[in-house]
């Protein structure tokens, strides 16, 4: 529907995190371009840095960018605050959505929508849209009066993330393991939500996942294998099938043999 064309460009991104054992480099040169309407799947083993990539693009203060650039339509994303990035059109569906006790979902969503659009939504339209999107995602309407993610089941949290994607209509959406913890029905419902949002907004999608399961519902245009803080290989959806069959072993380079002396 949307014909606007947006581009997210990640160039040679290096990111570190401060740990108790000192500074640790996690992203070691990530380069990736995502255009509107494209779906890029990022697949990789535990601890390879997938969430770090997602958080770094969103601007989480825990991660320090030590090199490289991220731009959205040429604008320097790394120079923006977290909320500016969201208002510029970036969206991150989190692997572990945060509970914000006492802030109702309806209040939260209206506040976010107002912030992103720069004006409050027309009340009647908004209520209608919210109701429709919640019902599409098979969410209990009573959820809107609960605290944000407060006591939500894993599945409810993930639906709530995708609900936000549908309502906030980002230009680029990063979905970090949105499939984890979902049963088959929920996976289908959530995937349909993502596809609907893509359809109506033409968003580019960066889909982070461990498993190929979700790729049966959300067709990727590109698959990137993420190992040890960088992209080890890229291809089309056929690469996902190979990963399913072979696993990540072939990409994990053996550590240099260490000599031990008695």
């Amino acid at each position: 529907m949307s014909t606007a064309n947006h581009t997210l460009v990640i160039k040679d991104l290096h990111v570190t995190v401060d740990t108790d054992q000192g500074t640790k480099e996690i992203l070691r040169g990530v380069t990736l371009t995502i255009n509107s309407g494209e779906t890029h799947a990022i697949m990789g083993p535990n601890g390879s840095g997938k969430s770090t990539l997602a958080y770094s693009i969103a601007g989480h203060p825990k991660y320090t960018v030590t090199g490289g650039t991220v731009t959205l339509d040429g604008e320097d994303v790394l120079a923006m605050s977290v909320d500016e990035r969201a208002r510029a059109g970036l969206f991150l569906a989190m692997q572990y959505p945060v509970e914000v006790p006492g802030v109702t979902v309806s209040n939260f969503l209206r506040t976010a929508k107002t912030a992103i659009d720069g004006e409050a939504p027309k009340l009647r339209m908004w209520v209608k849209e919210l109701k429709q999107s919640m019902s599409d995602l098979k969410m209990d309407p009573a959820v809107s009066e609960r605290g944000v993610n407060e006591g939500f089941s894993g599945g409810e949290k993930k639906r709530h993330e995708i609900l936000q994607m549908e309502l906030l209509k980002p230009k680029m959406a990063i979905l970090d393991e949105t499939d984890s913890g979902l049963d088959v029905d929920a996976l289908r419902i959530v995937s349909e939500g993502v596809n609907r949002a893509k359809e109506t907004t033409g968003a580019g999608v960066l889909l982070i996942t461990h498993y190929t399961r979700i790729l049966r519902y959300i067709q990727p245009d590109f698959v990137h294998v993420f190992v040890d803080g960088r992209i080890a290989e890229q291809g089309g959806s056929e690469l996902a099938d190979r990963l399913e069959a072979e696993g990540y072993d072939r990409f994990q380079t053996a550590a240099p043999a260490s000599v031990t002396s008695a």
Partner: protein, 394 residues
Amino acid sequence: MSLLAQKNTTDGPVLVGAHTDSAEAFVPDQSRAERTTSYAVADFPVPSGREEDWRFTPVDRLRALFAEADGTPLRRDESLPDGVTVSSISREEWQGSGAPKPADRAAVIAAARAASISVLDIPAETELTEPVRLVLTGDGVLSHGHTVIRVGNFAKATIVLRHEGDAQYSELLSVVVGDGADVTVVTVQEWADTALHLGQHDVVVGRDATVRHIAVTLGGGIVRLNTNASYAGPGGSFEALGVYFADAGQHQEHRLFVDHEAPHCRSNVEYKGALQGDSAHTVWVGDVLIRASAEGTDTYELNRNLILTDGARADSVPNLEIETGEIAGAGHASATGRFDDQQLFYLQARGIDEDTARRLVVRGFFAAIVGRIGVPEIEEHLMEAIDRELEATA
């Protein structure tokens, strides 16, 4: 096993020799029941700050309130629904009214030095649809207040006390509630930043009565409120809710003591506070005593503090003393945490700017308690006041 031997004296301290072997955590050295209560000023020396009940309080700044001196009453604006009356009673009538005795130096001085003892009467079986509203305003001088609220059997009422202006104010307030009555008392402290306020609020819950005491403390230099609940018969229910917000230099102290002696009574205490700014200090002490006779007691107390900036300090001390095994439930929770940056990140990642995000989180923190106050004018006012507090530092 525990033994309670009560020696009743007329005008001297009540000595209760209690001793408990309960293995429950947080049992103080001395039973809470052993604290002095008395009508005689001489029974309460001027606090040094080393006493158990004064150890958190900046007593040096409170000398005026410990002195035996007369003051000027606070100005009082009242709005009384039909049937509600205000009058005054003698000391003798007060001592026979069922109101508990003063329990510290400030309260005994308030009782001794107040110009008169005001009595607010809500007659039996009166059901008020509008709150009783009292606005008390200080003019920057020493004041003593002594008030008894008498609620007749099966009456239903909400009483809102608001404190404003500047004052050095000590207060003794007794709420004596008849059988089956349903009462909410709200006390709002919105003093100027220089005000000092030491209060003792006693609530006596009648048989099968339901009483709620709600404390909202936002202003004042030092506010220390001791709220004590006891039960005149079985089946009573007491709920104490509190919300406080301390800024730089403010000391806000809330002490609660629920004394379960009658069987089959309930109590629920929930206080939440936020702190911001250098040397903002809050103290919450929740004492619950379940005496041997208080079978079937069900009690819970909770205190949570949200520290918004460095340099603020929250003390939180729950004490649970249990002298009978025959209880329905007893629990407590206390936690003090810093502002959660993950929550901030989550909200900001949805386009919400940092100030708005902070405001949402703090409002959310208080929402569960504020939403249960049940007096809409207070709920709205409080949320607005919290927003203003946050804007002050933004």
